[in-house]
Symmetry: D2
């Protein structure tokens, strides 16, 4: 199913007036306070977040999975789904493939399909946390960190293969997430496992094209429950530094111990020029992979405050690879992703409203009350009209969720695909 | 220092126009969607939160305390400070006394002072977590739970004395927070400590006037670091049930283990008619006692969603005793409290905007996406104009913080009181 | 495969001498201090823990599952596996069935098989967290708490069926664990969900035979990630009280928020006569379902201290249903269970060595140092000889792990069952 | 009060026989398994842990402090207290001073006193988290990270002064713990605060004598409750690397987020040659500063497993500065420290019993069950006879707690010092 511009314009019609009134009122009010509204709206339009190919079907837990109708059953359909999201939101102009779940059979056809939908190929993701049916070696006890060199070599070669696949599609970035670790004290030697991981990453790094970057993800636990080799940003950064200038740390919001101050991690990595990518989701307990902004929207805003600051003040840090990394156990995956995209744009817009000069001045005076007023002043602003405007300007829907439902997208997909398709992935 | 109406009107002048525009635009928009704005504004005006007498001076940690100039040095001055807060915000019309820090020397004078400032005496708080200089028995190893009956009796008598003091002032409620517990495994017998606590509370309950209620607070840890006798709502409720109909559970936002779902606790207690009081603050790590809404404003909104639901649907539950229970280590205590009051009103206003009928319908259909849209729709609304209106209607400041600074309240207090006064309390 | 007594005696032979020396030395030493060793050894022999039928195959996470060879592929083989465990350890004399994974096709044959292996049928477990292929209604949005009465009725009927099945096998206990809850704020109404759960449980309770008990399990999160209807012991106890005298709370060690003081919960539940069952496992982060005692053995000891105290002092509390509830992702499930059984016995033995009279006296004096010395004195004792003796006395192996390996049990099972069997379960 | 050898020998007398029997039995058993007992006992004797000067009086919380009789009221008395500990345990042969609480008035006299008691001067600690009465600048909003260069310079100079004081006493190490951070979002700029801290540390580093090292401590929160500048090992290591070869990370057991895997941090820091020091304590909730080993003794053992591994395999890492950093709210501080020293020795002894070769072999085979058996085998051994032997060999007490009580040390101290002395410190 492809959503064309006419459909969207139709679905916008009954919301235009209210949008205009709200936007005008807000723009006027903010302009008076010195904000450059068209600049903010442009930035919102330009901000594009990749959709991971595995997030288009129903997710699940170890206790089971409840199916969802009309799931995409192949890569083409996944890209179609991203196309739908992008048409509606105009902020999902990229897909992030997961290998081996999404190896194209016909590269040219896939690229043409993506081009037609204005979808780029962002970071490619390797998978060494599951065994493939034809695999020689098992990752049960680790991949890049494995005590066995044969396993490590298989995992290294897989990552090189992933680079090769990504290269054919125009991707410029490899994301490495390792499940490696241990479930019990003593199961592995921390130093050996870390050293093996460093050596394996270096071997992959050697195969990285010059214009690529390598993003190293960290996570404290799950699926290993005693230790994880790359447990936190400190370990990730150490490994990235060990590889070279094109290796960076990737932050996934859900991959932290309880109460972590993630915005501070983000700030320090940018200061050092080593923040390479960002995975969005939300959580209350662990790596819950919930809709972005559904649990802790203020924390997301504070993180965007740091990201905006870094984008403006840290030329030493590269452009970031943005991706949603959520799982959809009880919602229509496309609706869930629309809500996530909206929450990201909201946090970004509010962060753009922070008066950085006033904040700096208040900090210089240790006027803590004023600092809080400035942040909360931006956060309390209802920025939805700005988001609507940014979408309207680029052909998207005023309310993507409403349009999605009005156009009965899921109904169409079920008609096309049936009820029992299953998307590859978790 | 007393802030009179003229001062406030003066300080409002330059904000009136912007307020009117914003309020009219918002009221119009919300009215179209079916909201009764004057009703909401009235509810905001009526919502009053008690200020604890110990929160008007600088707080501290075990690592030290940095002083603040112009602190109130006696009960009269504390009530003056609450009067200032109430004049500006019109939502702080009560004070919650802590005994023995705030025993009036002249009850009549104190009552008159409070009356003049429109301040009521809300819950009175006992203190059995510190030793008083003239005390016979020490609370080092517990108070109501102590293995020694002499200590327990002293603690019971203290609570009865507190009731007596409160009674003279018009208070109708006793709040019992126990630090009792243990720092090391084996230090006390859990069953004995619990049973002693139950028996002691029953003795206090016997002394409770008929029109009073007793609120039992819980907390998982600090100042005891292995166990606390009343560790969670389950323990508090068990003890309240053991006392009788006038005993209730009190929820303090900071008194929970990491990741607790507090809103669910609030809901279930209201369902059972056993939520008696509420202490507001915010935290990232433990019982941090930070400004309300400064860290997790969405969680506060979700809690207010339950409170509003309970106020509308649970006649079995009494009116609640609302209090701020924060500590002020780096901010002017009065400014900090103004920010807390604002955050409480904001969360309340947003909760009042939730379309309960639509939510119920979406829940009936398991339309999870819609449920989230409804909650976020309310939350994303910028309700500041409603808060301003509620304050204006009752003679308060459009922006209490701005007025506080414009009127140089702290400067006046320092002039009156000097720099080296120290408020009794923590 | 069945392990007979001769096999075990053979495997014990080379360990007998060392065991005797160690046991004699320890028994002599402890006897001098006033311990009744034969009494302790008897208690250890009598302590039997149920093995859940779903724990005999490889476990997994949402990221995948690595298979294990020789898994039992039907109920008969599962009971055989429990028989092997019991032969070696003499402390696994019961099995806990999970319905619908383990519905017997021939009740008589199953009972005879179990009898022959000295295995009893302990608590039966219902499953309303997954959809069965032929189910009319889906549990995607809850079971006993579901907004739809049709779903609730299906779930109630399932529990009644489970009781019926258990009854035919001699079980006397139903364990209800609900995954019910929500993934997002607003998804369900806390009060309605709780009330529905209470009503449903009452309906099940009505079908409970007079000599049965119903155990209500609680868990803060997973597989739902915003709220769980029965989130903690307070909620479970409230529901149990709402049902009646035969309903109890069941504590699973892994089902708590970070830093919970579980031993205190255990103590208070026993004081109230409402602790009905116990699920053993261990964890570092969440409900990790690791081998008992592998992460926090001292916490397990402290819990056993309370359990022993309760068994001796709380006649109001019933005998408990003990079960291991762990998952085996990287170990041979049978070896993992042997290690769990050993850790349970170790904690129990050490708890039995606590001098309760001396502890009581030290507590009466607030001699915190002494209290700690008493607990640590018991804990630091190497009780392995007592465990060996208890097993020897009842025909078990001195070292079950060594015997298991020496007898090549897994090799035999693979020969019998093949490599690709898969046990029903998670 | 000074405990001489005769006192200790006397107090040992009635325990000698039991000790000998137990030691002989254990030594014989372990020797048969290949352990070199005299080597292990020697290592235990050589292991010395510094006592911080501030830990000899009663601790407290922000809710209050309960006094303890006979506290040392000056530096001489503090060193006497360490002397008492060392006489009894023979493992507390060092003191760690905190400036400005413990500035000697007569360096020569203090050194002679310490020499006479066989006490060395270990790391010196600076204090920039409290304001001193005569200070020009306040640390309320930070010290080395402060936005004001005047404050930073005062804090730098203080650290240089501390080095100077330490140098006169023979110390070779400066420990820097910063409370710097923020209580509210926006209060400071993360990047600026970090950069200021780095620059300040470099200035201190320049003043470090060549044979000194600088230890940089980290902590996630408290006394700041939103962010801490040096929040984790990653930040500490980055700062240490920025300073130079003599700068190292210091790990304090209580300074971690919930569920942190500390042993892995320890291992990786040793691999990189950057673990400089270690502060022992225990905790259940936060930085509880409880007696070492009183809550999670198995975690302590796992940490010692890594420390022992590092001492044997990481020549790139320096010798560590060991210190107890606990607070004593409900115990006699000296008894508390004795229990801590015992727990440290116990964990060390058990770690020395791990069969590293067997463990390595099991890890190579991914024999997870065997790895666990090896660790638990060591941990379950009752090593108390080895600790007793190590103390006996060097003139210490078989049971330091028993001797302390038998000799009525506290009674003597109260006689000498009175009841109302207060030790400087927290």
């Amino acid at each position: 199913m492809i959503i064309n511009n006419d459909h969207i314009q139709d679905s916008n019609r009954n919301k235009l007036e209210e949008h205009s009134e709200s936007f005008d009122f807000l723009a006027n009010k903010l302009s008076k306070k010195g904000h450059n509204i068209s600049n903010i709206v442009s930035k919102l339009s330009e901000f594009q977040v990749a959709i991971p190919s595995w997030a288009l079907g129903a997710g699940g837990t170890r206790f089971g999975r409840f199916s969802f109708y009309g799931e995409p059953s192949n890569l083409e359909q996944k890209i179609e789904d991203v196309g739908i999201l992008h048409s509606l939101t105009q902020t999902a102009g990229a897909v992030s493939l997961h290998i081996p779940w999404d190896i194209p059979s016909d590269y040219k056809a896939i690229k043409e399909k993506a081009d037609a939908l204005h979808i780029k190929f962002d970071a490619v993701n390797s998978n060494t946390f599951q065994d493939q049916t034809d695999a020689k070696e098992s990752y049960k006890y680790g991949s890049l960190s494995n005590i066995s060199s044969a396993v490590r070599e298989q995992a290294i070669q897989h990552n090189l293969d992933v680079i090769n696949i990504g290269n054919k599609l125009g991707s410029k970035c490899l994301t490495v997430w390792l499940a490696d670790g241990s479930c019990f004290p003593g199961q592995n030697n921390f130093q050996t496992a870390f050293q093996n991981t460093q050596d394996s990453l270096k071997d992959i790094y050697k195969g990285l094209p010059n214009d690529w970057s390598m993003l190293i993800e960290y996570k404290p636990y799950e699926p290993n429950f005693y230790s994880t080799v790359i447990q936190d940003w400190g370990a990730s950064l150490m490994l990235a530094n060990g590889c070279g200038d094109k290796a960076y740390t990737l932050v996934d919001l859900g991959h932290h111990l309880p109460n972590s101050n993630i915005e501070q991690i983000v700030a320090i990595l940018q200061l050092k020029g080593k923040l390479g990518g960002f995975h969005f989701n939300d959580s209350k307990y662990g790596d819950d992979d919930l809709t972005v902004g559904s649990i802790k929207p203020y924390a997301l805003f504070l993180i965007f405050n740091e990201l905006v600051y870094g984008m403006q003040n840290n030329p030493q840090n590269p452009d970031l690879a943005w991706m949603i990394d959520a799982s959809h156990n009880v919602k229509d995956p496309l609706e869930d992703l629309i809500q996530s995209l909206e929450a990201i744009q909201e946090a970004y817009a509010k962060a753009l409203l922070i008066d950085q000069e006033a904040l700096k001045a208040a900090q210089a005076n240790n006027d803590v009350v004023k600092c809080q007023e400035i942040l909360q002043g931006a956060y309390r602003t209802d920025v939805r009209p700005l988001l609507e405007k940014a979408r309207l300007n680029t052909g998207g829907a005023i309310s993507p969720i409403d349009s999605y439902r009005r156009l009965d997208v899921r109904g169409q997909l079920i008609k096309e695909r049936g009820k029992n398709t299953i998307a590859t992935g978790l």
